[in-house]
Amino acid sequence: MEDKFVRVRRFLAPDLIGIYLLSIGIVLIPLLTGNLHVQHLCVISGIYIILLSGFNLCAGVTGLVSFGHGALYALGAYSTVLFVTKAGWPWIPSMAAGIITALAGGAIFAATGYRAKAFYLGLSTLACGWIVFKVLWNWIDLTGGQPGIPVPVASIWRFELWESELSYVIAGSVLFSLVVTRNIMHSRTGRALKSISANEVVASAVGVNVPKYKFMIFLVSAFFAGLAGIFYAYFSFFIDPEMSSLHTSFSFVVILVIGGWATIFGPILGTIIYVFFPAYLGFLKEYWSLLWAIVLISILLVTPQGLWGIICKYAAKLPFPRLRTSNLQWREIYAGARNGAVYQANDDPVTFEVIKLCKNFGGLQALKNVDLTIKGGRIHALIGPNGAGKTTLINIITGFYPPDNGEIILRGKRIDTLPPHRITNLGIARTFQGAKICEGMTVLDNVRLGQHTRTRAGIFSSAFGTRFVRQEEKQFKRKAYESLKYVDLIDVALEPAENIGDGQRRALEIARALASDPKILILDEPMAGLTHEGVMVVIRKLRELRDQGLAIFLIEHHMEAVMAISDIITVLDFGMKIAEGRPHEIKNNEDVIRAYLGKQKVSVEC
């Protein structure tokens, strides 16, 4: 009985109900009003929503704003129509060809910018879109040039799809695209995408293959753009190069920003405003484009979350606490976090070697022939004065900087040429100096991001919410609750990560690193700025982890703590290893004393 209830409830989440109502509305509202104009507006909104749901994943969630989606939209439309009219193919295969064309276009667009910073893609898609526009405009023999070409009626076998039949197909596609986007946004893939938008460095540190995800999500959005283009062509019976113009591409950005990016309902709200306002405020005529640009700027400046963000802000203040899903979620969180064991004891102690590592920055030698061995079940501290090259060493070990010379060997294999996400996959997790967390995601999602390397749900299985994905989510959600309990963050689990304090950020970072179930944990100043009690807690937990077989490598300036917990200490000065040994050996080492305190011999009490 219970099982059945859960299964039904899965399909009755509030956001899903909203999506169902919207899809039904696209067909139902025109039927009720019996007005052709209304039908036109509803279906056009539907077409925009299909496109925007993909565009939102790419531009809103991942932060890859593209000014070339109009071109992909046109590519889908033109190639389908040309396959039907010039090659004489039936409609369905032509549609497939159209979508493949849009995907191919999307692949080229994405290839121009997926490895560089996000804004390169924005500008290169602008240029790519311009090329498509020029080709559609000038290749008159094929595309009919500027006046455009008429589109024949869509037909499946002998059954013809006129406006009203097509509106059912479009409503179905709206449902499909919204459900798929929603599922992706709440999945492992969605978290990876959000982390790319929040902080690419963190994303690669938790094991997300950033370029791959960027490329993939651009293709997903190209698919939806192509599909929307095809529907537009067959619904309006006419296409022209204006579809691929900057004006069209820009309108998608306008809708996304006005409505609210990275939410499911924001783009829907934006679309409704964008389509219906000009239709009923006709007296503004040619001033609409100008007006949209001004509205866009004002929304960006005044309320970056868009109108949906404002609605959510006020809705949260309404006195209906029972309706909030978060209550259910809280109950689940506290129930799930009963036993706070987070790290599985490790019976296969790892060895990790750094051999003769060198790194230069311009003329500065940051590291000179550094040798190091990190072993499981040992806390290894790296100390040294400021600028000694400690963080540089960590950045090289974790793949963020390439070494100039030397080798890094994990279990007999060289890893110094691997990118950061591959290194994380091998079981090396790190934190950052000054705690880097993904703002805009909840504390819980930040920890779940850490599980990226241990989970496997791909984009397609996430999109359709397969049984495997659901089970994986359930299992790892519980583990995340336990990690949060372990670092004492369970009470802020659903809080946006940017709202928590400095000490909590550090704890969150450690929880995130532990969530990847690492063999080696690298911590960059985990105790900086903590209170005495805080330091004690960290010391106790690090010892617990060490006793379970984890290799811990930490940079720390808190000498008392370092001397108390370290099994072995390495001292760096000006990029050179000047000493290594047990705490009491280091304490009395003359080179170390000189590096810290200057030439004169002074006795230090640590």
Partner: protein
């Protein structure tokens, strides 16, 4: 022989237009790590102001300077009120905002002047042609090439030899450290943005006598300018000058081979190839990620 000279002169003229726009992009990128997509339209706006002023009988040279000033002010306002507040925005708001400025300026201009080509007076008192190496070319075109050359030379001298240039380079190197040394980095960034919009006005007005101007030309210029800047390398001042000449010659050669409508395909084809194979540009340096 004459055809070679023709292509070279044509290419240099195209290079002259793109060079200053791209140079402005590079200056902005270096000091602020953001770009103003509205700068070319600000330049076109300035050019129309100049044209409008000449209709009141104001001498061309004075209205020319007014045009540059108006563009500079537009660049400054855009930086202060739109680009700068959006510098840290998550969905590259500064890019979207800049594009919105471009659209606003373009639409305002087309409501004011319509969207057709408009005749622009010559700085040398009328259309004249001279013959160089057997190729006839208009004096306006030569003026554009020479003036751009001098402008670039002056800018390089300013950047390398003067105190303001030093302030600019310091800001580019490390904004926080520069501010700590007492440099008013805000002012430097503002001036650089208005300078780059002014440069756009300069090059638009110099090409105007032989291409005429239209309210819609800003978009194409900004996209081409960006293409040139990226091909050269967004952080390399010398790189964009070379890239501008390369692209100019490529377009001039290309327009002999293919129909006029496809001329841009060469530029953008090069851009796509460069972005795929060497995203930092031909002369740019790959930055280390900040960790």
């Amino acid at each position: 022989m004459s055809i070679v000279v023709q292509v070279i002169l044509g290419g240099l003229a195209i290079a002259g237009v793109y060079c200053l726009i791209a140079y402005g992009f590079v200056l902005c990128w270096r000091v602020a790590k953001v770009l103003n997509l509205g700068q070319a339209s600000s330049g076109v706006f300035g050019a129309f102001i100049c044209l409008w002023l000449t209709r009141f009988g104001i001498p061309l040279y004075i209205s020319f300077i007014c045009g540059i000033l108006v563009a500079g002010i537009l660049g400054l306002l855009t930086e202060r009120f739109i680009i700068n507040p959006l510098r840290r925005s998550k969905i590259i708001g500064w890019l979207i905002g800049g594009l919105a400025v471009e659209i606003v300026l373009r639409l305002c201009l087309s409501h004011w002047w319509g969207s057709d080509l408009v005749w622009f007076p010559s700085f040398l008192g009328g259309q004249k042609t001279v013959s160089i190496g057997g190729a006839a070319t208009s004096t306006d075109r030569l003026l554009l090439i020479i003036a751009t050359f001098f402008m670039v030379y002056i800018l390089e001298v300013i950047a390398d030899r003067t105190l303001w240039g030093k302030k600019m380079r310091a800001t580019a190197h490390d904004e926080v450290a520069a501010a700590l040394m007492g440099i008013n980095t805000k002012l430097v960034v503002m001036l650089v943005f208005s300078l780059s919009a002014g440069l756009c006005a300069f090059s638009v007005m110099l090409q105007a006598p032989f291409t005429n101007i239209s309210s819609l030309m800003g978009f194409e210029l900004v996209v081409k300018g960006f293409a040139v800047a990226v091909i050269g390398g967004l952080d390399s001042r010398r790189g964009v000058i070379i890239a501008a000449v390369l692209i100019g010659l490529l377009e001039a050669t290309g327009s002999l081979i293919v129909p006029a409508g496809y001329r841009d395909v060469f530029t953008f084809g090069t851009l796509i190839l460069v972005l795929i194979s060497r995203p930092q540009g031909l002369f740019g340096i790959l930055e280390l990620r900040e960790v």
